[in-house]
Each structure stands twice: as C-alpha cells, then as structure tokens.
Symmetry: C2
Subunit: 185 residues, 2 copies
C-alpha cells in the first residue's frame, strides 16, 4: 500500500544525502515538493525545487486548509500542499517528505498513519565538525544551528524510528530497511 514517509531531524544532520540514496534504492518512492513564498535562487525551477507561491496565494491556500503542514521562518512561509501528497498516493506511489521537526509534528497530527523517521547525528561534536566542514555557515550561524539541534534532539523520543547518521552506508541501509519493511507491511 502507498504510504507517506517523513524524514526529519536537526538541520545539517544529512537528511538530504540520505534521502537521495533512499530514492535511488527504492524506486517506488517519490519526493514531495514543498511550497514557499521565498524568492527562487539561481538555478531553482518552479515545481521541481519548490512550488513558488506569492504571499497572497500562500495565505489564501492556508485559509482553505490546503496545507498538510506549514510554518513561517525568517519572514518566509513554507509548507506541504495536501494535493502534492494526495495525487501521488492516489496514483499508487509512496511519498517521501524531507521536513524539519516542527513540520514533522504537524504531519503526525494531521496524518497519524504517516511513517516518521528521525535522523540523529552521532554526537553534537560530529554535527559541529560537519557544519564547519561544509564551509557555508559563519561561526555564529553554526552556534545557532547547534542550539537548535540540541533542542530538536529532545524530539528523538517522540519518534518511533530513529536512525543515527554515524556512517553513510550503514545509515542508508538502516533507512532502506525501515522503508521496505513498512512498504511490505
């Protein structure tokens, strides 16, 4: 049966890489495309990277309860359209959402049958090294992300499945195992 999989966890934990590997190894999965009010960046394509909505349309669709989850960050709004998920399920495809913890909690509230997987870093020190190694964040931004990560790590106990991203290949295999088991259930 087609299912919804929510992959969540702290920023910088490696959700994106794990999901790319998951999608390549479990071809029946499709990745959901989020909606946002922020401006497209260079190279981003509407409908592929995001559904880019203007603030008025986003607000109107939120008022009509068209989002499975949504939230505002740094002045922009982000969300998952129910239609985006439902048209894939209706076509018999399972859907993967890459989403931060707050959004995952909303999906859990709206759709208790969704399968939630929390990706945890091996340790705060490892997370710091990864963020520093990425070289895209200032020291202040890294501190801020680590603080957020600490708060979000609390969230681990809320989720049935927790995959520690200690070593990529091992973590991918564990994630693929969870997904295959749920698809076969």
């Amino acid at each position: 049966m087609a299912k919804v999989f929510v992959i969540t966890g702290p920023s910088g934990v490696g959700k994106g890489t794990l999901i790319r590997e998951l999608l390549s190894r479990v071809p029946e999965l499709e990745l959901s495309v989020s909606a946002t009010t922020r401006e497209p960046r260079a190279g981003e394509v509407d409908g592929r990277d995001y559904h880019f909505l203007d603030p008025e349309e986003f607000a109107a669709r939120a008022d009509r309860n068209e989002f499975l989850e949504h939230a505002a960050y740094s002045g922009n709004r982000y969300g998952t359209l129910r239609s985006e998920v439902e048209r894939r399920l209706d076509a018999g495809h399972s859907v993967v959402l890459e989403i931060e913890v707050q959004g995952a909690r909303q999906v859990r509230a709206a759709m208790p049958e969704a399968v939630l997987v929390f990706i945890a870093p091996p340790s705060p020190e490892t997370l710091r090294q990864r963020l520093e190694g990425r070289g895209t964040d200032s020291p202040e931004a890294i501190d801020e992300r680590l603080r957020t990560a600490e708060i979000e790590l609390d969230a681990q106990q809320e989720f049935k499945h927790v995959v520690v991203n200690d070593e990529l290949e091992r973590a991918v295999e564990e994630l693929v195992g969870i997904v295959r088991e749920e698809l076969d259930a």
Copy 2:
C-alpha cells in the same frame, strides 16, 4: 456550538494572565489540562495543573495516537490528550488550550476548525522588560527566551487572529470579542 480555542504566542508574552481574564468573563469556556512526564512541583495537583503521566504511559498513549498534539522539551514530554478536549466538547463546553507555537501548529493540522489566537508582545524590548521584571529567569535564560520569541514572532503571519498584548484591559477586551464572535457564529 462548542468550539476549541487555542491561545498561543511566545513564552513570557502574558498568555496565562489573558486566559485567566478570558475564563472569568466568558463562563461557558473550560480550560484544558495538559499531560506531562515531568515531576509535579510543590503545590501542583494531578488533574488540575497537569495530568502527570510516567514516561512509559505517555509513550504508549502517543503510540495509540491519543494526543491531539505533543512534543518533548528539556527531556520531558508534554501534550494534550484528545479525550481531555473531546469530553468537554461532547458535554457542550467550549475548550481553551494554552499552548506554545509548535503545539498550536499541530492542533491546527489535526483540527482545522479550531480557532487560533496568537498573542504578540508590543515589542522585543517590552518582552525583555517583562521577563526581567518577573525576576525568575537568569540573564542567559532571558536571552534564550528572546531568541525563541524572535523565531516565534515569525509565526504571527500564520494565524488568523493576532492580539497585541500592549495593555492588559484592552487586550482582554479584544480577546473576549474574538471569542464571543466565534461562539455566536
């Protein structure tokens, strides 16, 4: 018709005071009691201040989807039991939830018909003065709360009703007005 009202907003914004006034002026409202795994503090009574659950029971009830919303903070879990809200609605009473922004988003996802009211501080400076005046928080805790408040203020645009808590009596009247209008609708 009995309705669910969610009063949300940053920590320290004065939700508790506003809700006490609201309950005293709109007697048909009942305040929902949250569940938590944290230890009772001196003077707290089970079933009045919180439903105190041990971690195993909380986890089991979460697995059975018995919570309208739940989350973990500082190693403890907090949530609103559906039964707590539903038995009041079934008895014809409208229910008020005092809840932080993450929980409010979950209620919105699970129960789109709930009425959400965001309480906003007049300015970050006023919020700082209030937290300092309360005298219960360390300077570091106040900084942390202000950072959280800044993030949560973003949330304002997500909510239909926003009441700025600039002056208590004015804010209470605005809140009472919103609730009465929704109860009469």
